[in-house]
Amino acid sequence: MVEDAKTLLELYRSMVKVRQFEIMAGEHFAKGTIPGFIHLSIGQEASSVGVCSCLRSDDYVTTTHRGHGHMIAKGADLKKMTAELFGKKTGYCRGKGGSMHIADFSLGILGANGVVAGGLPIIAGAGFSIKMRKTDQVAVCFFGDGASNRGPVHEVMNMAAIWKLPIIFAVENNQWASTTPQKDSGSVKNLSKRAAGYNMPGIEVDGNDLLAVKKAALKAVERARNGEGPTFIENNTYRIKGHFEGDPQRYRTKEDVEKWEGKNDPLDRFSQHMLKNSIAKENDLKKIREDVAAEIKEAVIFAEKSPFPEAKEAMEDIYVNDIKGGIAS
């Protein structure tokens, strides 16, 4: 896998976008501009960008409650995302979904999900549909170490394996599920070990190493496109922020978290890689960060200026052939 400098810089840009978007989201949540609750994936950008950069825009992705990164890496529009988080009419879901339900079906993003592991059964359908329609698309489901303990994961992995569906199971083992450490909730340390029970390749990856993730994902994508079936990829990473914004994080120390910052940070690691190998100069990277910052700023202005939906819009989008929400009409 040899990537040219331009491609690598684009990967960096994508990671920066995720990072800056989420920093912005955290700030706006704290300010109260973003209602509800949000979950940030800061520190996990190598996983979302590493995997999604191997995908075409007609490939499918399902994401999770911690889905901003997957969305952005798959190409989502920052304005529509920001507006959605703000609950605005111009958001991806017209303000109906919020952070936990963003989707962009035009980009194959079949939705974030408020139900842990909720995306897996959906990906089974996407994979099956690809097979029926005989295209060479692939379907990726992101999920967490916590999610891996839910029943539907098992059902979908078995089904994908027996039918050789073009699915990539991308588990982000960030070592925590809310307050629960992975080692307490999972009976194996490396979730990729479970793949053997489905006759499926299982790969463990340093999930903060962008190129390592990308390499594993490329192989899995190729396998899927060739009709050879599913792959299970475990991206080992770490959740830097609390489970949700506002999480007091009594379950771990500051020192625990710090180990994953700085030189273990996926963005730092990737920029170091590029600088060391003279793929880019600090100035190139800085320029990218500034460009992205401007883009995010624009997105925020867009969101701020956008109107809230009108109340009566709540009664739209329930059915295609509307039955006007009520039963008696």
């Binding site: 499918y60 958001g91 991806y92 879901c93 017209r94 303000g95 109906k96 979904g97 339900h101 989707a103 962009d104 079906f105 035009s106 079949l110 939705g111 999900n113 408020g114 139900v115 909720g118 897996l120 059964p121 959906i122 990906i123 089974a124 359908g125 996407a126 994979g127 099956f128 549909s129 690809i130 029926m132 329609r133 379907a139 029943g151 539907p152 059902e155 979908v156 078995n158 089904m159 027996i162 739209e316 989008d317 329930i318 059915y319 295609v320 052939n321 039955i323 929400g325 039963i327 008696a328 009409s329």
Partner: protein, 326 residues
Amino acid sequence: MNERIISASEALAEALNEEMTKDENVFIIGEDIRVHEGIFAQFKGLPTQFPDRIIDAPISEAAITGVGLGGALTGMRPIVDMHFSDFVTCCMDELCNQAAKIRYMSGGQVKVPMVLWCPDGGGLRAAAQHSQSLEAWFIHTPGLKVVVPSEPSDVKGLIKSAIRDDDPVMFFQHKLLFSKEGHVPEKPYLIPLGKASVKRQGKDVTLLCYGSAYYMCKEAADELHNQNIDAEIVDLRTLKPLDMETIAKSIRKTRNVVIVHEACLTGGFGAELTAIIQDELFDYLDAPVKRVAAKDVPMPFSPVLEDFCLPDASDVVKAVKSIKSS
């Protein structure tokens, strides 16, 4: 006139055949459907006709429903065979949190043209986990449509509309009705969702029913006729959307209502219907709306017990007489 008589199973198979011929995106997924061609022979001929579109899946209801939903989101028109409606308990998240809500949550970005096909109901001595009628759960789940046909001709016209509908449709068919025979036109036809059918005209009382309860009402109406009570039977056919117009028209005429369904009484669809009727037609009612339904128990196995718990025509007659003799 060519009045062809076939069974509900045959009507269903014919409808599925027509729709699968018309649209290659329609497929059926379920457990153990290929070899038996459906345990009620309701898929007869389909595995031969469409070898790649009748799919036997592992026992994985969540994943199977996911195939329906994910398929619908990506260009297919899946029909998910739930085997027995009781097993919806194994995929409620996929149905109620995902399929029902994804269109709305995404702000209308997407359609979910999927049918969840559920044989339901009791009378087979199949006990508590194989005899339920669970339509009320789904009535209370915005985003789903609910269809419960009775006669073979309804089955045919409604399943075709359900397949063509762009929203997720729960389609309940009573296990004992598959072998029932009736007139089914040979030419393809659709029955729109949301249209009730007045199956017997009457002036004294309106019997509102669907699914297996239609046959109870039919029998009851004959008996009532002998007793000089003239019952009108409205077969709702679709519960959501509901044809309130037809219902209201009948009630304004008869001023008396008995609702009949096989699901257990408490919290059943009859409750909702009653609530709407007493609200919208308060001044037209000469008597309270009466409900006939199964007893509020898990369905017991022994024939004596099950027969006691299920409603039948005599219960309908009794309910009518409780309001028409007062």
